[in-house]
């Protein structure tokens, strides 16, 4: 499904150049659950952003189902994200001014589905993660766990084939973290490919494979026994 070939990402500020990713090669198969681990600043989030097409590689190719996304236009990438991807962030990234139902609906705001279909999908996504009863609340009125479940509802409302999760349990307590991981594992069992950045070895255990990153390079890739 995903193939990164010699992908590098460098940032330039004034006269300083920082290499976030260096010559990365990575494959992710359809239906896989991959955990990316590594210390802070190693390039995990950059790798996830490139997979999510919200950042572009400085060099190399990003193949998604035989399509080179590194050479695709901005408008095409927006459509790709809209149709194929779901994002879950550590800091939830819900919009304060919108209610929970509006935040979830944002996942379909740019799709061309009929309105009734959108409404039905939003309701289904909220029910699935158990936050339907907080639909009219604003994000700041919810606990961290509830906010992250709302963010997951927003990520799955478009029925993506790939979910990218950037430390989804990083801001949550153990119980809420476990609930979020259960939801992600269930989504994976239903066929959704998941790539997750995490610091937690316990949560990495939910994945079928763990990729270790250090100083912008993939150090090792370990596959858990079935």
């Amino acid at each position: 499904m995903i193939r990164l070939e010699n992908v590098s990402r460098r940032y330039r500020s004034d006269e300083v150049e920082t290499t976030a990713l260096a010559d990365i090669n990575l494959r992710v198969g359809e239906g896989e659950f991959v955990a990316i681990m590594g210390p802070s600043g190693c390039g995990k989030s950059t790798l996830l952003n490139i997979l999510g097409t919200i950042d572009r590689p400085s060099e190399g190719h990003y193949w998604f189902e035989d399509r080179d996304l590194a050479a695709t236009s901005e408008a095409e990438l927006a459509k790709f994200r809209r149709d194929r991807l779901g994002f879950v962030f550590q800091s939830f990234n819900l919009i304060d001014e919108l209610t929970i139902v509006e935040n979830v609906a944002l996942g379909l705001a740019y799709s061309s589905l009929p309105r009734a279909e959108k409404r039905a999908r939003v309701e289904a996504a909220m029910d699935r993660v158990g936050i339907g009863h907080r639909r009219s609340h604003h994000p700041h009125q919810l606990s961290g766990g509830q906010q992250q479940r709302a963010a997951i509802a927003r990520a799955i409302v478009g029925r993506p084939s790939l979910i990218l999760a950037d430390e989804p349990t990083g801001n949550l307590d153990t119980e809420n973290g476990a609930q979020v991981m259960d939801i992600l594992a269930e989504l994976n069992r239903e066929g959704t490919t998941i790539v997750m950045v995490t610091h937690s070895p316990a949560h990495a255990d939910f994945a079928k494979r763990t990729v270790h990153v250090l100083d912008g390079k993939i150090l090792a890739s370990t596959r858990l026994a079935a």
Partner: protein
């Protein structure tokens, strides 16, 4: 430097854009307000001098079909004599402008000379530089000069006791200078440079005691308004006693003719349209200032979130709310003071340009009566407190724990957003109101300059000094003007566009309809009158040589029927169904009969503000009373024809200065210039109001897009394209701008309908003006925010998500 002052300084320098928008916008608003304040004060200061509060002007108005609309300040020459006979204690004086030529050696110069009663300077206490003006006017040959006139004719030498040769209304006199007064200020309605005593035997014409005639201005003096009102109450009886004793009016006279008095200082804005315009400009000034204040509040509240952490930290460190309110209020007042200083500098820089464009002579005085410094300090305090109150209260009210714990600075929530959008609606509503007003005013001023006036206005030159030539010279001039290369036609008459000598009106009626008797202005015309002006015949015929015996007043038999040409308004007011029906009809004013031989389209020689009066044209080729010659020319520049006519003039009438102007210039100077200048001032105010509105919108957009960068990152991550984000941002900012149109349109409609009703010749209040102004205002708003929106919409989502 205290920490408060230091923080203020750093807040200004750190957020340079906001500081620029805040201070620049307010400075601009204050500058616009100051300029318009000076303009309005100047307009309202006319004829205010020590003692002017005791002077009233006699005004009169006629009420019958065809009479001029509204009151007039011209009265009968001898009315003051009759008033004094009936009211022995009454004090009054007269002001009679004269056609005057000064002969100074070989030079012959036209001057503004005025004949006034000997007590004129007792009422008009203009300061004397030398001599005694009142004593001078007691001498029948005494002359009072203004300083500049004295300098012009006598240089640095003392003019007292020297003589000047003056031709007044064609008669030569020698006057002796007895006093010099300061030049009359620019804000004077009755301007002149020389004063001579008003003597009936010199300047009292055949109409001196004829009720219904009017040729000078009569001033009356009262100790207070109560005394003036008591006198005014007796005027109707006085009119009935005197005017009613003549055959000039049907009785009671008050049905046709009334007089009243009006305070001198109200004369300049006598016309309701003028008053409305000055009031509008005052409103433009106030509203522009209001917009600037609104901007300040808007930006300050929007920015409040940026300083929330500083406020929270100060509270944690023990600052009380009162102290914080003082700090932010102090900052607001300091900002406004800075803006006021810049505004003052901008005003000083702008005044020469404003004076050139608006035809004014405005200047700032800082101290003393009329000084702007104290009002400006008051303005700074009031605006500072008003503008600073909300941010001060809002900022100091933040709860420190919540602010410090929040990942994002508070921005006032939905209520804050609604407030800021409401303020944008208000300022754009005002800006669009001005934009529509400006569009309509420009369209109207352009219309009056290009409208079909019923005659061909280009290629016409008026020789105004024609009146100063003798009868024989006038005949020669007409012949010689006609031979000038490029001249196609020449005529003489007692009117020309912008000019009308002797408005003799009589009540005419048809022999078959004595019930309709409108007042019709009689215009004696010379040969080629209609051809020269390019008048359009509607029915019948014009005067021609084949019918000279009946057409020409000079050749007709005593008491015979006279042939006349009417304009369409006269035809209408005489009750004819159409122009053709009037041809051949007989009309009379009680004297001789007149046969209508032709009807011409109305020719508007007068102001576009008033309707065209009904007119009756009569031909007189032998003894024409035609003080104006008008020349039609082709293929020459105005300066060329002027030069050619002047050279003829100097040959035929040596020693009398040539005066003339094109019809375009005559109409512009008399009827269009003031409106055009006021439209210019209004336009400047409106452009700046829109600019200030845009500054506010820009600031708000800059703040809001910055605050929403992360949200935009989220939306893009979720699949929003750059265009989706642009639509979102533009829609968000344009929503209040579009809503502002809904508020501005009805207000503009009612205001402009009122303004246009002051013009008889006016444009229709088309919705296109509204659409055009709104589209332009909206486009400007889009241009204002599109750059920022584009920049933010194009940002890479990953970078936007990292933004805090």
């Amino acid at each position: 430097m205290s920490s408060g002052l230091l923080t203020f300084y750093r807040a200004l320098t750190r957020h340079k854009l906001y500081a620029l928008l805040n201070i620049g916008g307010l400075a601009l608003g204050i500058a616009v307000f100051l300029v318009l304040f000076l303009f309005v004060r100047f307009e309202k200061s006319y004829d205010s001098f020590p003692g002017s509060e005791y002077i009233w002007v006699l005004e009169e108005q006629y009420f019958f079909p065809g009479a001029a609309e509204g009151p007039s300040l011209w009265t009968m020459q001898g009315e003051l004599d009759q008033l004094k006979a009936d009211f022995p204690d009454l004090v009054g004086t007269r002001f009679n402008g004269l056609t005057a030529v000064v002969r100074d050696g070989d030079h012959v110069i036209s001057e503004d000379v005025t004949a006034v009663d000997a007590n004129f300077f007792e009422l008009f206490r203009y300061p004397a530089v030398s001599g005694d003006p009142t004593a001078t006017l007691a001498d029948p040959d005494g002359l009072v000069l203004t300083e500049s006139a004295a300098r012009k004719y006598f240089g640095a030498e003392s003019p007292i006791g020297r003589t000047l040769a003056l031709d007044l209304d064609g008669t030569p006199y020698r006057y002796k200078v007895g006093a010099v007064i300061r030049d009359l200020p620019a804000n004077t309605s009755f301007t002149t440079t020389m004063f001579v005593p008003f003597l009936r035997e010199r300047f009292g014409g055949q109409w001196y005691d004829h009720w219904g005639s009017s040729s000078l201005t009569t001033f009356l003096s009262f100790r207070d308004a109560e005394a003036a009102q008591a006198f005014a109450a007796q005027l109707p009886d006085f009119i009935e006693r005197h005017a009613g004793a003549t055959d000039n009016f049907t009785k009671p006279v008050s049905n046709m003719f009334r007089q009243s008095i009006v305070p001198l200082h109200e004369i300049h804005l006598f016309d309701a349209a003028d008053r409305a315009m000055v009031t509008t400009l005052a409103l433009v000034g106030l509203l522009t200032l209001l917009i600037a204040i609104v901007n300040y509040v808007n930006l300050a509240t929007a920015r409040s979130g940026l300083r929330a952490r500083e406020v929270a930290l100060r509270k944690v460190l023990g600052a009380s709310r009162a102290r914080l309110i003082r700090q932010f209020m102090g900052e607001a007042i300091a900002t406004v003071a800075l803006a006021a200083l810049i505004g003052l500098a901008l005003t000083e820089l702008a005044l020469p340009f404003v004076n050139a464009t608006g035809g004014s002579s405005l200047a700032i005085t800082y101290l003393g009566s009329g000084g702007v410094l104290l009002p400006l300090v008051a303005l700074v305090l009031v605006v500072g407190v008003v503008a600073g109150a909300y941010p001060a209260l809002a900022l100091s009210g933040f709860r420190p724990a919540a602010v410090l714990a929040a990942a994002r600075a508070p921005g006032g929530g939905r209520a804050g957003i609604r407030l800021r959008q409401g303020l944008v609606v208000l300022q754009f509503g005002v800006a669009i109101l001005f934009a529509i007003g400006t569009t309509v005013m420009i369209a109207q001023t352009a219309h009056v300059r290009s409208a079909d006036l019923g005659f061909q206005r280009d290629g016409l030159f008026i020789v105004a000094s024609y009146v100063n030539a003798s009868q024989q010279q006038q005949d020669t001039l007409l012949r010689e003007f006609a031979e000038v290369p490029g001249v196609t036609s020449v005529t003489r008459a007692n009117n020309s566009p912008g000019w009308q000598y002797e408005r003799n009106s009589s009540n005419f009626h048809r022999l078959d309809r004595p019930d309709l008797s409108p007042s019709i202005l009689s215009v004696p015309v010379g040969e080629n009158y209609f051809a020269t002006f390019g008048a359009r015949l509607r029915a019948g015929r014009l005067f021609d040589s084949a019918n000279r015996a009946g057409d020409d007043t000079a050749e007709e038999a005593q008491g015979a029927t006279r042939n006349v040409v009417l304009n369409e308004t006269a035809v209408h007011e005489l009750g004819f169904p159409n122009a053709q029906a009037a041809v051949g009809a007989l009309i009379t004013d009680g004297g001789r009969e007149n046969r209508v031989v032709g009807v011409v389209e109305d020719m508007r020689f007068d102001t576009p503000r008033e309707r065209v009066r009904p007119m009756l044209y009569m031909l007189n080729t032998v003894h024409p009373w035609g003080p104006l010659a008008t020349v039609r020319y082709r293929g020459m520049a105005p300066a060329q024809i002027e030069g050619a006519l002047e050279s003829v003039w100097n040959r035929v009438v040596p020693g009398v200065p040539f005066e003339g102007e094109t019809v375009e210039s005559s109409l512009y100077e008399r009827y269009y210039k003031q409106d055009a200048q006021r439209a210019n001032i209004f336009t400047m105010g409106a452009v700046l109001a829109v600019l200030i509105g845009c500054i506010g919108l820009y600031g708000l957009a800059a703040f809001d897009t910055t605050r929403r960068i992360k949200e935009i990152g989220i939306r893009k991550t979720l699949g929003a394209s750059t265009w989706d984000v642009m639509r979102l941002l533009l829609g968000r900012f344009l929503q209040p701008v579009l809503f502002a149109n809904l508020i501005a349109w009805p207000l503009a409609y009612f205001a402009l309908r009122g303004w246009l009703s002051g013009f008889d010749d006016r444009i229709a209040l088309s919705p296109l003006y509204f659409l055009l102004a709104s589209v332009v205002a909206t486009l400007i708003a889009v241009l204002t925010i599109i750059g920022q929106s584009w920049k933010v919409a194009r940002a890479e989502p990953a970078r936007a998500l990292r933004y805090e």
